[in-house]
Symmetry: C2
């Protein structure tokens, strides 16, 4: 298969690297000769004329994607044209306004849900899409053979393919990606002028809530602007619940029911987030181990767990303020918890009493 | 030292277990005979009359703490009386209103910043306070010997002691603990009615932002109500920034600067969060390893890292939707990155190109 990639930033260059490794013949194109050359030098593909490509992937910034897609549909009359933009509805409307019905049938919008806080070809990596969702927005007019080509290309990168309507995709990413980003940034923003003695009390809870607040403003400005309606809808709903909480805090005694409800509704929403591997949410047994923070200690811990033949479902290292200690929470299926606790204790590891839950930071 | 603990819930019982293991003589008291007996059975202390305790620790729910502290100051005229409530200013004012000046000098407010999403003596563990901040709110009138007793007791639990003014403490926990809890709950709340096909797109970013949304509504209602003013102040500031974002999304083109600014201010606040062990923030080198999700694989990975003599500063396992794969990000000091990458590659581990940064979820 011959794939022509237009736009050699992080996503375009990473896709080129991934497909080149899977015997796809990849050609590259970018408005910046430098970016184009860098991507080629990094193994993303060739700079030769694409000739008659089977697939054209538009990996430009979202704000110019529609025009580039329309041009590509015209320039490569036999190619299936797809893209990697993280918003789909507005883009599809723009493309539809610029092309013929036949051309539109050759366009299949995609959103590989992979990214980094670093951008550009220099940050490209062939496994960027591995095990990430790759959303494909086709419709009943999409020819089966063209859809098959795009699915095959997505799967060649190691991504896991999901088919969604553009509107459902945009509503979904607003809730699971765009709004969490805005809110994490706003929470972190409140720490801007906090004295060090105050931020010194930060626990794992704050670290988790604000981790993605380190994201790139330029990238996110385009994403948020491109999905403005959906994001605004969710943020407005969130704000009305925030207003209730602020009012309740203002009124004091008698309105604590509102506070309890806010936390309880959060429990409810939290329980809807799928567990790992896209499975239904699972309550794992968490075994906590206290370890000295020295080279090789984690190695010994995980070797001991491995020797017990137990599979670690998830793990977290909590940060230990003021001392060189690590608190490791190891998640395993409940059935394996007792064996793990007894096994590790017998090997001299410090384990508290059994408990099937997660750590809080109250 | 003789310590009398009033209130044998999670914190009281855990404290009793920790101190009993450090040769403190601990006596227990709770309004519930059952809770009291359970704590004693779990090794938190004795049910005998305390006689003339050196320290009385009030570990009741915050809403009754003031009255219990005042009563204890009167009942035990030689004891230093302290507490574990997570809010300090309002509590101190209530106590001051109920006791004499001499009695007030024997009261030293504390907040051990440890907790779980589970409550009650049944969830108690002797290492609950290990490596967690233990805030002590003393003032110039606090006798040095009494302050020394409380510091010694806190350190005996393995906690790391911090001295703060009550108002600074309350302002700090509002920013680093209470507001993040409210916001995480509100973000999770937006997922309540999201179809499964939408939440199926959830990535690590959403999981991190909402992890603490699983917290206990009863506990948090008391905490939020007890620090209402500080929490309302921060939430109101956050809401005004949220309003700006919503307005910008409404206006569309031309107002994207507001969106970029919101994310940039989040970067700024994020950078103020201290790294592990309470040190200044450190940028670690992140080495990403792709592993099959089978028993013993993590063990082999960390054994290989240990064999290289490299200390793991932090690690994260990303969830792989739709396939049995794990993506492990191992954080090490930048100086050790290359050695780790070369070392792991030579042992057959799948490593992408070098990159000093964190994963995003754009």
């Amino acid at each position: 298969m011959r794939v022509h990639i237009i736009g050699t930033g992080l996503l375009g260059a990473s896709l080129g690297q991934a497909l080149s490794a899977q015997n796809y013949r990849v050609s590259l194109e970018d408005t910046s000769p430098t970016a184009q050359q860098l991507a080629a030098d990094l193994g993303a593909g060739e700079l030769s004329r694409p000739g008659d490509p089977d697939i054209v992937v538009v990996a430009t910034p979202p704000d110019v994607a529609a025009q580039v897609i329309a041009t590509a549909l015209r320039k490569y009359p036999n190619a299936t044209v797809t893209d990697v933009a993280s918003i789909k509805t507005r883009l599809l409307e723009s493309v539809r306004a610029m092309v013929t019905r036949d051309e539109l049938d050759r366009y299949i919008g995609c959103h590989p849900m992979a990214g980094r806080e670093k951008s550009g070809a220099i940050a490209a990596r062939p496994d960027l899409f591995t095990a990430r969702p790759w959303v494909i927005c086709s419709d009943e007019d999409t020819p089966a053979d063209r859809l098959g080509e795009v699915v095959a290309m997505a799967e060649a990168t190691g991504a896991s393919v999901t088919h969604l309507d553009p509107r459902i995709h945009d509503a979904a990413v607003a809730k699971v990606s765009h709004v969490p980003q805005v809110i994490a940034s706003l929470v972190a923003s409140q720490l801007r002028h906090a004295p060090l003695e105050e931020v010194a009390l930060a626990g794992q809870g704050l670290r988790d809530v604000t981790r993605i607040a380190a994201s790139d403003p330029r990238l996110w400005t385009q994403i948020l602007a491109g999905n403005a309606e959906e994001v605004r809808g969710v943020l407005t709903e969130l704000r009305s619940e925030l207003d209730e909480v602020i009012t309740a805090l203002d009124l004091g005694p008698g309105s604590t029911g509102v506070l309890a409800r806010a936390i309880a509704l959060g429990n409810e929403g939290y329980d809807r987030i799928p567990g790992k591997h896209g499975q239904a949410p699972t309550k794992y047994a968490v075994v906590t181990v206290l370890i000295p923070d020295t080279p090789g200690t984690l190695a010994r811990l995980f070797k001991d767990i491995g020797d017990l033949g137990i599979n670690v479902e998830d793990f977290r290292m909590d940060h230990a303020p003021g001392r060189r200690l690590g608190i490791v929470d190891v998640s395993v299926v409940p059935a394996a918890q007792q064996e793990l606790e007894i096994g590790l204790s017998s090997k001299g590891w410090q384990i508290p009493e059994s408990a099937i839950e997660k750590e809080g930071n109250a």
